[in-house]
């Protein structure tokens, strides 16, 4: 990531001027980043440290707090619900990213190769304008096993009823679908933006060589899209690990913990059972896992850069 900053240095006339100027530049730069640094320290770093500190205590909001060392982390190792929550979350991320990426690439390619209609591009972005919570409630209702419209339609063709949110097997795929519905247009447009930058000549050359659309997709589009895809993945993977709203307003972790994703587990511990110290410990572990994933992804992305430049 950092090495990517290829900033050619302005050739200054004299070394002395250069030093003075660069020192002044440093102050200006610090002034420019000061608000960001301030926001980072006060609202990200400080609360993170405070959370880290609390994870070493038995804080419960109302009673006296005492230091318990690593007891919360020990408890976590033996906590089956925690490990189940991790597994559920990973399953969700795999499904969500899978659906979303495949569909978004498909949609972006369709938008790119079929039509340049701004109206259609606008329409697919509409779900993004509705709040997460409401999207979740709406689908919760439409997908209801007994009186939801989707199951009504399924029953006309002789299927179902499917307990989309109620069965252990369907709950996570359903939640992944709902979130895909909301974010598909947004992700597709990010990818679309990448497609627009692939030189048209390549397709024209491909057509002259008699390549089909299908072949061109695999030979031209996908390879050249890799850096964009990598970036989209970093944003969406970290985002999907943080799935919370949808679960909170629909299944609330059920049935039988089948959708108890890690963020919801943390929320449940902190706000329902007031076990804030332990909830913090779980958060710290989540933070570590996310950092590792992001780090690996960024490494992989850097490996991809050679494709383009």
């Amino acid at each position: 990531m950092t090495s990517a900053v290829a900033a050619p240095v302005a050739e200054a006339p004299a070394a002395a001027t250069r030093t003075r100027r660069s020192r002044r530049d440093t102050w200006v730069a610090l002034g420019f980043v000061a608000p960001t640094i301030f926001g980072f320290v006060v609202f990200y770093l400080w609360p993170s440290l405070r959370g880290l500190g609390l994870s070493l205590t038995d804080y419960t909001f109302f009673s006296e707090t005492s230091f318990v060392g690593l007891a919360n982390y020990q408890r976590l190792l033996a906590d089956e619900t925690f490990w189940n929550a991790m597994a559920v979350t990973v399953w969700y991320v795999v499904l969500n990213i899978g659906f979303q990426t495949v569909l978004a690439v498909l949609l972006a390619v369709l938008l790119h190769r079929l039509t340049r209609s701004v109206v259609i591009r606008g329409l697919v972005l509409m779900p993004y304008l509705v709040a997460n919570v409401v999207v979740a409630l709406l689908w919760f209702w439409m997908l209801d096993a007994q009186i939801g419209i989707v199951n009504q339609v399924l029953s006309w063709v002789g299927l179902g009823p499917i307990s989309f949110f109620g069965s252990e097997a369907w709950a996570i795929p359903t939640i992944a679908f709902v979130n895909t519905w909301r974010h598909l247009g947004y992700t597709a447009l990010l990818i679309f933006a990448g497609l627009v930058m692939i030189p048209r000549m390549l397709y024209e050359a491909g057509r002259v060589d008699g390549a089909s659309e299908w072949q061109m997709f695999w030979r031209i589009t996908l390879p050249l899209l890799r850096p964009v895809l990598a970036l989209v993945l970093v944003i969406t993977v970290v985002g999907s690990f943080q799935v919370f709203d949808t679960v909170a307003v629909t299944t609330m972790g059920g049935p039988a913990d089948a959708s108890r994703v890690i963020q919801y587990y943390i929320f449940d511990l902190a706000f329902e059972r007031l076990d804030y110290g332990y909830a913090s410990a779980v958060s710290v572990v989540l933070l570590v896992i996310l950092s590792v994933i992001a780090f690996v992804q960024l490494r992989l992305m850097r490996a991809n850069e050679s494709d383009l430049s």
């Binding site: 900053v5 609360p47 959370g51 701004v118 930058m197 964009v228 690990f241 943080q242 943390i266």
Partner: protein
Amino acid sequence: MVAVDAAVPTGRVPAQEAGRLTPGRVLAWACLVVIVLITLFPFYWMLRTALSNGTTLATAGSSWLPVDFTWGAFRRVLGLATLEEAQAEGGTGSAVDFWVYLRNSVLVAALITAGQVFFGALAAYAFARMRWPGRDAVFFVVLTALMVPPIFTQLPNFLLMRDLGLVNTYAALVLPFFFMTPFAVFFLRQFLLGIPREIEEAARLDGAGHVRTFFRVIVPMSWGPITTLALLQYVQAWNEYFWPLLVGSERSVRTLTVALGVFRAQTPQGNPDWPGLMAATLIAALPVLLLFIAFGRRIVDSIGFSGIK
């Protein structure tokens, strides 16, 4: 990341010459139509439900038209219905100060957007166009904020707001998002990296300092991505749910997303006011939709590509 190609694609290049109807193209169009239909159907369902009568809604769950047509839900949301009218159609006895919530949402989202875009642009400039010691390290640290799960920082932030006595004020709603969001910094930095060095050099040779170069040259040049970013962040801030629920639940500062709770179940095992909820959702999405129509082409055309490649 990769260096950014600042050449702005027009997005107006005609797609593949239309007219040749191959089976492949028919299939592709069919895919696109299906995706658009799945995207739009829930909006129709919202409208149909919003125009239904709450007390009879469930008697005709699969009716494609509004059940027992009424404008009552919209009247409830806008605070035009009397208590008796509202209760007669399955609404709550609770008053809805729609215009207060709307004002709060607009104010909070606008403040957050202004702060994020302005400070984000400053920081992006410093990260992309200036050389100063520790720059890359600081940038990396700021990016790590992307990995911090919101739930991890929200509670300590909540305690901080409590200690500052800011709970239930606009300040509490805005501050944690105001100074920075890693996405904004990242997004604009990637764009700025792509601006040809010469343009800036010219300004510098004319004797302009960094501050002037930034405001006179860089900002006007980056108007496209800045607008895009502003709209994206506005949508995000508009739909923010958990944090406003935590620190801004009091009527005077309550935002629309939090106010939607009025339409959810008011008693254990009670019925949500579905028509009210759907009407409120449609109305809450309206201001964003208007912005979207006003600046739609710009978003749709420039989303993402300035941020990535």
